[in-house]
Amino acid sequence: MMSNVEPIIQAEKVNIDYRLNKVWLNAIHDVNLAIKPLEIHGLVGESGSGKTTLALALMRYLSANARISSGVIRFDGEDLTTQSTRQMRDIWGSKINLVPQDPIASLNPSYTIGNQIGEITRRHMKLSRRDATAKAVEMLKRVKIADPEDVVDRYPHQLSGGMLQRVTIAMALSTHPKLLVLDEPTTALDVTTQAVILDLFRDLIHNNDAAALYVSHDLGTVAQLCDYVTVLYGGEIMETAPVRDLYSQPLHPYTAGLMASLPRHSEQLNTRLSTIEGVAPSLADRPSGCVFAPRCPVAVEKCHQEKPPLEPADDGRMIRCWRWPEIASGELSTTTKPEAIGESPAPREELVLNVSGVSRQFGSRSLFDRILGRPFRPVRAVDDVSLTIQERSTLGLVGESGSGKTTLARCIVALSTADDGEMELCQMAISNDLDRRPREALRNLRMVFQNPNDALNPYHTVGQAIGRTLRLLADRYNSEAEIHVRVVELLDAVRLSADYADRYPAELSGGEKQRVAIARAFAADPALIVADEPTSALDVSVQAVILNLLKDLRAQQGASYLLISHDLDVVAYLSDWIAVMYLGEIVEEGASDAVYNAPSHPYTEALISAVPVPDPTDERSAIRLEGEVPSARDIPSGCRFHTRCPRKIGSICETDEPPWRDAGNGHYIRCHIPVDELIELQTMAGSKDTASTGEDR
């Protein structure tokens, strides 16, 4: 980085307050931040850290109950904190632009794409309506949208999430801003789409002489995209550093804790993830000393008493910690060595679940369609899927959104009734219809949902919620006293104290709620737990706690899991077996390691390669999937993946359904390419020349 260049934006000692119950509370404390031209500065933090508040406040955009109470934000020769909103309207959209988090909600549903992009150029560049549309087409070309002339006339609901995010990027870039604020711009997208969008950012920011503030909770994308990183916790900067330094040697215990809590597929199956104990402080009770001290594994008395200053270290690093010099010199280790968990019992031969030929279609044919003789085109969400889970094992089910993985899970627990197919639970045939399932099947098959906030009845205490399952499904407990004993036992198993039994869900954090949901799932000693994205609504430090917990419980209780996730690292960490779904069917399955390494289905290969690695030195050239996932109403002929496959071999892929190919040890791949050719293609993938097949567009 050029060190003598003036920063585009420089914040000094910025404090932001929120007014809650008629009291002003300090939300952002003494933040310093500078971004130079061409730099991408990452702002990382967990939910509640204040990262979005800070990012928007740097644009001088505050919610009605917030204020910048002190500090200076220098931008383009002016102090933004002294500008009126009216003055800011000339800067917003022309010099500082936002790429929002949720592109669908961030575009007005009632206006065309062309209109909404054109609005910004008409306002700031005084373009005519016609010129603005022409400019919109040009910008859509820059973000590599196919058929831009057609897309300008479309409405947001007609485009996919990935397309819409390109539209918001095109919009933000169309006035050549000096600074882009990217607010979690890929959080709502699939990994494959995310990978393409991140590439786009890198190119566009450099080609436009812009700078960017990239707000994210995801250490992986930050490592891949940013030059500098600022770590925010409880409204304060914990650490700022060049990206490589931060990832190679985090100097703040919080940063180190975050890094260590990430699951990686290379990790041993029997190790625990490091966790950060406790929860982030709420706005009303921030500690007076170091804000991280209550959760810090190396905090000493001084940390609780006195707030450490944000101190400069070598090469542009800043750290807010009393003990960073000890950490830097290596005297003090921040990571506790992860202890091994109790041996996971080996999977047994017996099958806990045997699903064969399950299908689920959505949609109906109206009378009108019949009269007009229109063909019936249902959404084939799950199409003839078979899978098995051995007792005491975990099957991970991965795929992009729209792959049908959640529908399949719902069919298995009969929240959605499968149209077709048979299921066996613990070697007993069970009906596809929930009402016809015996109580024993309900007891043996429990589910943990993605969003713990919606999964618990807000009017039942934790004890009532868990007790209800016991009363309905377990016969062993005859009195309320016995049920209470069991509830406390279950709470203990998920590391919650007995007094949680009397609390209501509103009094719990997201991670605590998910622990209660897990305790409830385990309450009646089930044989199989279906967990649908159990950690995707949680922060990484909390995710680690839940993943450890799931691992421990499996070891103790001998249950099996069907784990559904879009996050390959989470799946790989917990599963011994993985199945990959694409457009309603399974395209590959096998032991965890086997699926992760060659040979893989080209789709699996692309999925794995799209996962951003939390290591800035990792420079694998990744495979990028072009195009959109086809509609499940209109499934492509032949191999369903042929429309996007970077390894398509010819017309056979378009006409013939691919065969199942046996890669040994129960590892099967549904592809026209023979196994040994796949191995050959994919083991060379590390070298530049073959990988470029995926990048040629």
Partner: protein, 315 residues
């Protein structure tokens, strides 16, 4: 969209058929012998029989229904039972015209006013302005029409003498005469509608203001008025359309009380007297018109909603 319109029109036809059968069935259930009721207790058996014959009351009920429906569709709405057996159609259409005048006048006052109040209350949520508007609109909706009507008459007709107290309607009336007659009744109706429409608008505005696209528009640097008018109102007013459509139905058939207070010759009053007199041909025609008005208002609202909402228009 064409398909959507055709679907809705077919649905409208079905609705009308079902309701016409329903009305017909219900009038059959009205207690008492029609002929005796109309001709009086002293009527001779011969006169009664003659009456039944003239109006086809001796035919089987389904046949009566088909005859009536056929007549209604071809413009022959039958003859009233009242003295001189006048034709129903001119009678009803004249009343309908009066009712439509009052409805239009009411809409012309209430739509802009209630939307304006709703938008202001929504934009300045929880401010003193919001409180004033909310208290005002909710307290007037709580008052029955005959109370507000009579207060208005006492103040503006008897007191200030600006408007006539009762609504004599003559065919010689010009536009200004009509305005004078319609003002007080339409203000009374407006006060009833005000709360529904303005509360709906307020809720819509508050909902939309929270949506991320408003932040996007602000951070594009657009001026505030453009954000409100172009972005927020376009979406916030969509649900309001449905409420207005429902109120149109009420304005056509449900203004009985207001018509009574102002002695206004509208459809509602005619309907009540037709029920009292068991004047079935009159009753059926009026109810069909009211239902038709409801159905059309809803259809137009749905089409408008679809037209303004690309998510519906383009599916």
């Amino acid at each position: 969209m064409t398909e959507y319109i055709i679907r809705r029109l077919l649905l409208l036809v079905v609705t009308m058929l079902v309701t016409s059968a329903l009305i017909f069935g219900l009038t059959q259930l009205l207690p008492g012998d029609v002929a005796r009721l109309v001709l009086g207790r002293d009527a001779s058996p011969v006169a009664l029989e003659e009456f039944r014959d003239t109006y086809g009351l001796n035919d089987p009920v389904p046949e009566q229904y088909v005859m009536w429906l056929g007549g209604f569709l071809t413009g022959d709405w039958g003859r009233s039972y009242s003295r001189g057996s006048p034709e129903v159609r001119p009678l009803v259409t004249e009343r309908l015209a009066n009712t439509l005048r009052l409805a239009l006048m009411t809409l012309a006052i209430s739509i802009p006013l209630s939307i304006l109040l709703g938008v202001l209350a929504g934009l300045f949520e929880d401010s003193w302005l919001d409180s004033v508007i909310s208290v005002f609109s909710l307290s007037v909706v709580g008052l029955p029409e005959f109370v507000t009507g009579i207060v208005l008459v006492n103040v503006f007709a008897h007191g200030l003498g600006w408007f006539p107290a009762t609504s004599f309607v003559a065919s010689s009336y010009n536009f200004v005469d009509w305005l004078r007659v319609l003002t007080l009744p339409s203000i009374t109706a407006t006060l009833v509608l005000l709360a529904y429409v303005s509360r709906m608008t307020r809720a819509g505005v508050i909902d939309e203001l929270k949506k991320p696209y408003v932040r996007t528009a602000t951070l594009k640097g657009l001026p505030q008025y453009q954000i409100i008018i172009k972005h927020v109102l376009r979406n916030a007013l969509l649900p309001t359309i449905t409420v207005i459509a429902l109120s149109v139905g009420w304005l056509i058939g449900g203004l009985v009380v207001i018509e009574e207070v102002f002695n206004y010759p509208g459809l509602g009053r005619e309907l009540v007297s037709a029920v009292r007199a068991k004047n079935i041909p009159l009753l059926q025609s009026i109810v069909m018109l009211i239902i038709f008005a409801y159905a059309m208002a809803n259809l137009i609202a749905d089409l408008l909603y679809g037209l303004l909402n690309p998510r519906i228009r383009l599916n």
